[in-house]
């Protein structure tokens, strides 16, 4: 089945349960090219599970996931890997390879995706990507020598170095101070503009969402309960949304 060209991701009637606990119940969503979609929801509401189903780390119990018109759930692992080469994923804990330096972390996907790429080009790409995240000096450091914010930046650099069309962010600012949160969020936005990426970001950080989101959905009771832009969600009269965003608004 071929989707319209502007649809990068289309999730249809996705259901995922862990034993008796249903975490995603008939969830459907569409993400257009160069759009930043933010997925809100309380902890344990299936936000990360949704991302892991899209990238193929978890198999849903029911439903379909199309990426650029291809149903990824029906692909062999080899064909899925071809699609994955065009997707970046930023993990909540950054998931840097801790036995490798920052340089090796960044060259790892490049060397495997583009075995013919000359070393000079790889080196230039690593340098340029580290400049984008303002961490050129960390190139020979080990992940254990980096702070939480630096790890997020390097994780981001590793995800974007193959210049993917689609980025998936799992809690990109969780555990960071407000200043670093703002910096990372602006960095995500700038990268999206510069590289014309499409993205889905899972978060409960309103500041991050306000900076990066073109559109947002809210997962509640395993379903998409609300959808709109950030202003519509934060200004909503719905008691649940008022309660959820209230804490952030008081701070603002």
């Amino acid at each position: 089945m071929v989707m319209a060209d502007t649809r990068i991701v289309e999730v249809k009637n996705l259901t995922k349960r862990f034993e008796e606990h249903v975490v995603l119940d008939n969830v459907s969503l569409v993400v257009e090219r160069a759009e930043n979609l933010v997925v809100f929801g309380r902890s344990g509401q299936g936000k990360s599970v949704l991302l892991k189903c899209i990238i193929g780390l978890m198999a849903p119990d029911h439903g379909d996931i199309f990426i650029k018109g291809t149903n990824v759930l029906k692909l062999s692992i080899a064909k899925l890997n071809e699609i994955r080469k065009n997707i970046g994923f930023l993990f909540q804990g950054s998931a840097l390879y801790d036995s490798m330096t920052v340089r090796e972390n960044l060259t790892f996907p490049l060397k495997r995706h583009f075995p013919e790429m000359p070393q000079k080009e790889i080196d230039d790409k690593v340098k340029h990507t580290l400049e984008l995240v303002s961490l050129e000096d960390a190139i020979d450091k080990m992940p254990s020598e980096l702070s939480g914010g630096m790890k997020k930046r390097i994780g981001l650099a590793r995800s974007i170095i193959p210049e993917p069309e689609l980025m998936l962010y799992d809690e990109p600012t969780t555990g960071l101070d407000p200043i670093t949160t703002k910096e990372i969020s602006e960095l995500i936005l700038n990268l999206q503009k510069k590289l014309n990426m499409t993205s889905i970001a899972v978060t409960h950080d309103l500041m991050c969402a306000e900076i990066i989101a073109d559109r947002a959905i809210f997962l509640k009771d395993a379903k998409v309960a609300y959808e709109g832009n950030i202003k519509e969600l934060t200004d909503s009269k719905d008691p649940f949304l008022k309660n959820f965003f209230g804490h952030e608004l008081i701070k603002a």
Partner: protein, 269 residues
């Protein structure tokens, strides 16, 4: 590859423990089959295999040196009075060499290797699993099983026989030291007694079975690490159960392999 889940908890019933035993054996068999399938498919991460062999060799060199030397030393020290009592003192170098070559060298080296390496692989892959590094590899379109498991299992399989040969040599040196402390014996006499006693047929089965032991150490460590669940507690569990299971399997397979060896080469009996 779908592997059975184990049951965890502070107090497991006997039925849960029996279930876990069979689930582990089933999981290990599936994991083993996956290894066989993937080891022969490209890309071949030869650089990674060499890197792991280097690391494992360096990591275990000290401990196997000491162990090997002590095995030979103690074996000769304990056997010397008994053999002299029966007037068989001249056979001591040959007895030390045969015992070390046929059984003690391969098995003790494999058990030390299991303690040092299987736990290390279990902990390393386990912590990669719980910190999502294995998932990160998978989403970046790299086959983590091939990159992390196949390379390590090949490395342990290839390095253990090398370490075993080294341990056998060190143990024979240790045996010589034990003998010369109590009675004068020239190195040339000791060496010629050793070489006259040990035949090629003694050496080959002894060293050949260490390929199997090395495979067990790598496979069990990788299986326990790769399937780790339950955060840091799970990493600890992966590390300790790797040692227990790989040591147990080494001893079971040793029994089977000795029986097969005696069946194939009846003259060794």
């Amino acid at each position: 590859m779908k592997l059975p889940h184990l049951k965890f908890g502070r107090r497991l019933s006997i039925s849960d423990q029996i279930y876990n035993f069979f689930a582990t054996m089933t999981g290990l068999t599936i994991f083993n089959w996956e290894f066989i399938k993937q080891a022969f498919l490209p890309p071949y991460e030869i650089g990674e295999v060499k890197k792991h062999m280097d690391e494992l060799g360096v990591k275990t060199f000290g401990i196997v040196s000491i162990t090997g030397f002590i095995i030979g030393l103690v074996l000769a020290m304990q056997s010397q009075p008994v053999m002299q009592r029966f007037g068989a003192g001249d056979f001591l170098p040959g007895m030390v060499a045969l015992t070390v070559v046929r059984e003690l060298g391969p098995v003790i080296t494999a058990l030390i290797f299991a303690g040092r390496v299987s736990s290390g692989i279990g902990a390393e892959l386990g912590s990669m699993r719980v910190t999502e590094q294995i998932d990160a590899m998978e989403v970046s379109a790299v086959n983590p099983f091939k990159y992390l498991v196949v390379t390590r299992v090949l490395a342990t399989t290839l390095i253990l026989p090398v370490l075993t040969i080294y341990v056998i040599i060190i143990a024979i040196l240790g045996g010589y030291l034990a003998i010369v402390i109590s009675e004068p014996m020239s190195w040339q006499y000791y060496l010629s007694s050793v070489l006259n006693s040990v035949e090629f047929g003694d050496f080959i089965p002894g060293v050949a079975k260490t390929f199997v032991f090395g495979y067990i150490v790598g496979l069990v460590g990788a299986y326990k690490g790769y399937t780790t669940e339950g955060g840091t507690e799970g990493v600890g569990r992966a590390s300790t159960t790797s040692v227990v299971l790989s040591s147990l399997l080494i001893l079971i397979f040793d029994t089977v392999l000795v029986k097969i060896t005696l069946w194939l080469w009846p003259t060794l009996g």
